[in-house]
């Protein structure tokens, strides 16, 4: 019987090499695959490039991975937050590289990466520092800038429920970057609160179809939903 379920987080993360580019879902803490990030910390891969909206909050999750010195570069839209002291310290000490990408371009670059698109012209960022050195083109009288796709070696996805085939649904605004990231990596690993039987998820409402998911691990209901 076909199953993508793995028994635990350690198994889910097997084989992630040093130097990997890892897409990490979430917007702040919502939809952040905390168990997988903690697992990656234990797993030991280093010299990582992290693609995420933020660069960690507080001292846990992504921030803990950064603090352990395992991340070489962060590609994100909004590193600076009230609780991003770990990233801020590393950045000011010159210990981490940063590529800042406008949030919509970040999402669309990942979408393009997952959809086999070689690049696209975006109006976002035209005439700003973040478009410097990029090809511009005027299309129907409007100026656009060429943006390249982003793909990961690995994507870590924070979903709500999934089945053994790999179908996923999300909860409220914890969806955010997760569904596009699930399309754009060679190895897609999803943590879910709960694994349900095949057929239980409404096919009209499945957000990430099974084809994208490689491994799925149940991590239990989060505190605030108990």
């Amino acid at each position: 019987m076909r199953t993508k379920i793995v028994p635990n987080v350690a198994t889910a993360l097997e084989g992630i090499p040093d130097g990997a580019t890892v897409l990490v879902g979430g917007f702040g803490l919502a939809g952040q695959p905390i168990a997988l990030i903690d697992g990656l910390l234990a797993q030991g891969a280093k010299d990582l490039t992290i693609v995420a909206n933020n660069a960690g909050n507080g001292d846990t999750g992504l921030a803990a991975l950064l603090k352990a010195g395992r991340v070489r570069k962060v590609i994100c839209s909004f590193p600076r937050q009230v609780d991003s002291w770990v990233f801020d310290g590393l950045y000011r000490a010159g210990k981490i590289e940063l590529e800042v990408v406008p949030q919509g371009n970040l999402a669309e670059r990942i979408r393009a990466g997952g959809a086999g698109i070689g690049g696209f012209f975006s109006p976002t960022g035209v005439g700003t520092l973040l478009a410097e050195g990029k090809e511009e083109r005027v299309i129907n009288g409007k100026t656009y800038v060429l943006e390249s796709p982003i793909r990961g070696d690995v994507a870590l996805i924070g979903a709500f429920k999934g089945d053994r085939l790999g179908n996923l649904v999300y909860r409220e605004t914890s969806r955010n970057f997760n569904p596009v990231m699930a399309t754009a990596a060679d190895l897609v690993i999803a943590q879910v609160d709960q694994i349900v039987e095949v057929g239980e998820l409404d096919p009209e409402s499945i957000v990430t179809p099974a084809i994208y998911t490689d491994r799925i691990v149940e991590v239990g209901t989060r505190e605030w939903l108990r």
Binding site: F27, Q81, P102, Q103, T124, R171
Partner: protein
């Protein structure tokens, strides 16, 4: 009298069209939501994937999975929908939002906006959705105090901070005046406790 924050938010709210789809930026613009007449049927969008956002959540309503772009827990209005980040920014970039209200470090008389980066060497650049919002909505309005804490005008001939978007702002709502900006330059729509002469003195501009 010049306007306080709440009065300014209320003034912005009066100009939001009936039935509009609106994105309110992080910070002061969020206050506009408190002054929208429910009869106006305005729908709020938040770029982290929610159309039909309601007020800030309190007490048992707080759900860490349901937040706004400022990562504050909110409630959702009846008829709301959730979508992913690519869809959310497609909605924005595709021109489907009617109005976006943003804060600013500086706005130029031609409508250039600077609101993401001070450009100082030790500042950590963080753009978030600001550049997408600046060029995405049909109308982009800025809501801000006219002057910085140091008394410098935020309405300027040319922005000196790094730009967020070029020629994207159409109107600037400040505590002292509402000013239209754009390719034809700036002109004053309304004054609050300030004469045109005083406004020109404060901004160093020759506004009409």
């Amino acid at each position: 009298m010049t306007l306080n924050r709440d009065e300014l938010a209320n003034r912005v709210a009066q100009d939001i069209p009936y039935g509009a789809y609106v994105n309110l930026g992080i910070g002061a613009p969020t206050l506009v939501a408190d002054h929208l007449d429910p009869e106006r049927d305005v729908t709020l969008h938040t770029e982290n994937g929610l159309l039909g956002m309601g007020r800030a959540a309190v007490g048992d309503e707080i759900d860490p999975d349901l937040i706004n772009a400022g990562k504050i827990p909110v409630i959702a209005e009846p008829g709301h929908s959730f979508f992913d980040q690519a869809a959310s920014f497609a909605m924005m970039r595709g021109g489907h939002l009617d109005v976006c209200v943003l804060g600013a470090f500086q706005v130029s008389t031609s409508g250039d906006l600077a609101n993401w980066h001070t450009g100082e060497p030790d500042a950590i650049p963080a753009v978030g959705g600001a550049m997408d919002l600046a060029i995405g909505a049909q109308q982009v309005w800025v809501m801000t105090d006219l002057l910085t804490k140091d008394g410098a005008s935020k309405l300027v001939e040319t922005c000196t901070y790094p730009l967020t978007g070029k020629g994207c702002v159409s109107r600037v709502y400040t505590d002292r005046a509402v000013i239209a900006v754009g390719p034809d330059g700036a002109h004053v729509i309304e004054l609050f406790g300030t004469t045109l002469e005083e406004l020109n003195e404060l901004t160093g501009l020759d506004l009409k």
